[in-house]
């Protein structure tokens, strides 16, 4: 198993590895907003989703806007899912630890659906001229759409 070869270098997880699941940490510029152990973590990479379970090979990836799904959190039900919206950033996977580095992380249940919808409509209502502005608008729109979708799903 992968962790047998990595255990020697073991710099990934600061906390002890208890031999099951992966450690999931979400850090934002203001604080470490989540630090937990879970069975698996699904990440919104820039081009699609990717699931990480124990023994995943190490990688560093760019994230898009989307939800991090943490399944089977320690101390909870085996199929309980915790969803956290992240807005871009990076992920580092290695040594059975998933570290999400993002500018913004919001737990899905604390997104206000009406507010998210209003935000989405507001962005859709604006007109952008020029290549950069259009690209920025497209991205903002995609992000807002993602927020609405996550809020709808977690209701």
């Amino acid at each position: 198993m992968a962790d047998a070869t990595h255990s020697g270098t073991g710099s990934g997880a600061g906390r002890g590895d208890d031999g099951s699941g992966v450690r999931c940490v979400i850090v934002t510029p203001e604080m470490t907003s989540l630090d937990t152990r879970a069975r698996s973590v699904t990440l919104p990479l820039f081009d699609g989703q990717r699931g990480v379970a124990r023994g995943h090979s190490p990688f560093i990836g760019r994230l898009g806007a989307g939800e991090v799904r943490i399944t089977g959190e320690q101390g909870g039900a085996a199929d309980a899912v915790r969803r956290v919206f992240v807005e871009g950033g990076f992920v580092e996977v290695g040594h059975n630890a998933v570290t999400v580095i993002t500018q913004r992380a919001i737990p899905a249940e604390s997104i206000d659906l009406t507010q998210a919808r209003a935000e989405f409509e507001k962005i859709r209502g604006t007109t952008a001229t020029g290549e950069d502005a259009i690209a920025a608008k497209m991205q903002a729109e995609a992000t807002a759409r993602e927020v609405v979708r996550i809020a709808e799903r977690s209701r």
């Binding site: 990595h6 510029p29 081009d47 990076f90």
Partner: protein, 302 residues
Amino acid sequence: MAKARALDRRRRSVRNIRKITRTMELIATARFKKAMDRSVAARDYTKQLVKILENIASTGADVVHPLLDVRPTTRTAVLVLSGNRGLCGGYNSNIVRQSVAILGQWKSERVDADVAVSGKRGISALKFRGIDIDQRFTEFEDKPSFDAVMPIGRAYLDAYAAGKIDRLDVVYTRFHSIARQEAVTEMLLPLKAPETAGTATAGAVGGAGAPTQLASQEYDFYPSAESILEEILPASFLSRLFKCFLDAAVSEQVARMVAMKAASENAAGLIKNLSRRYNRARQSQITGEIMEILGGVEALKQ
């Protein structure tokens, strides 16, 4: 009696002032602790970013990015972080002195400087010295949020990318410890990459012999190391800028705490002195009165 009463009145007013400074000290202490906690909590993010940067550097990827290019400075930007309030010792005046020094330097080199100032104290002090301020921020108190700092940072990044500025200096108070904070001028743009450079050379030296044990060589990059670098450099700039704001906030609270503690202690000394003088004045007045009575009695006896 007049003198004793005047002394008593002064003593009472000093006591009231001590109450105020003591309260301010306690508030500053509480705010300092909170600000410190935030600053500590923010360290993880920087640490993780640095870790990824190191990993990228040690893959041997060329660390080339517009934000790392050093260009001849023809137009520069200076961001000054001061406090909104006074009563914090030399905190604001140190910042103002530091920023006047750097602005004077740019002026003598005939470089246009775009000046942005955060904090009412800094704004008024620099205005008084006849410095044109292009941007003012007064919304940053003891808890700067990343969401508030981000637009400022983004604006600087865009200006740098568009070639409107060639350099960004931030004047702020760096927090070393509770006993030591200093006003510093730090260059944030172009980005220095000391961490990456350090590990890159270390990797190169080690790599000459046996393959080194660098953890990064195990990593895959999605989509590629270059693309991640492109994204991570702005992020690391923003986090460094944010750290400046956090440091400034922490330092301000420490400065206020120390200043108010000194003020309270000074007030205590004043009160002691005044009490002594008051008691002496009262005593000498009583003595005087007794002498008068005795004098009267002696006069009546005759």
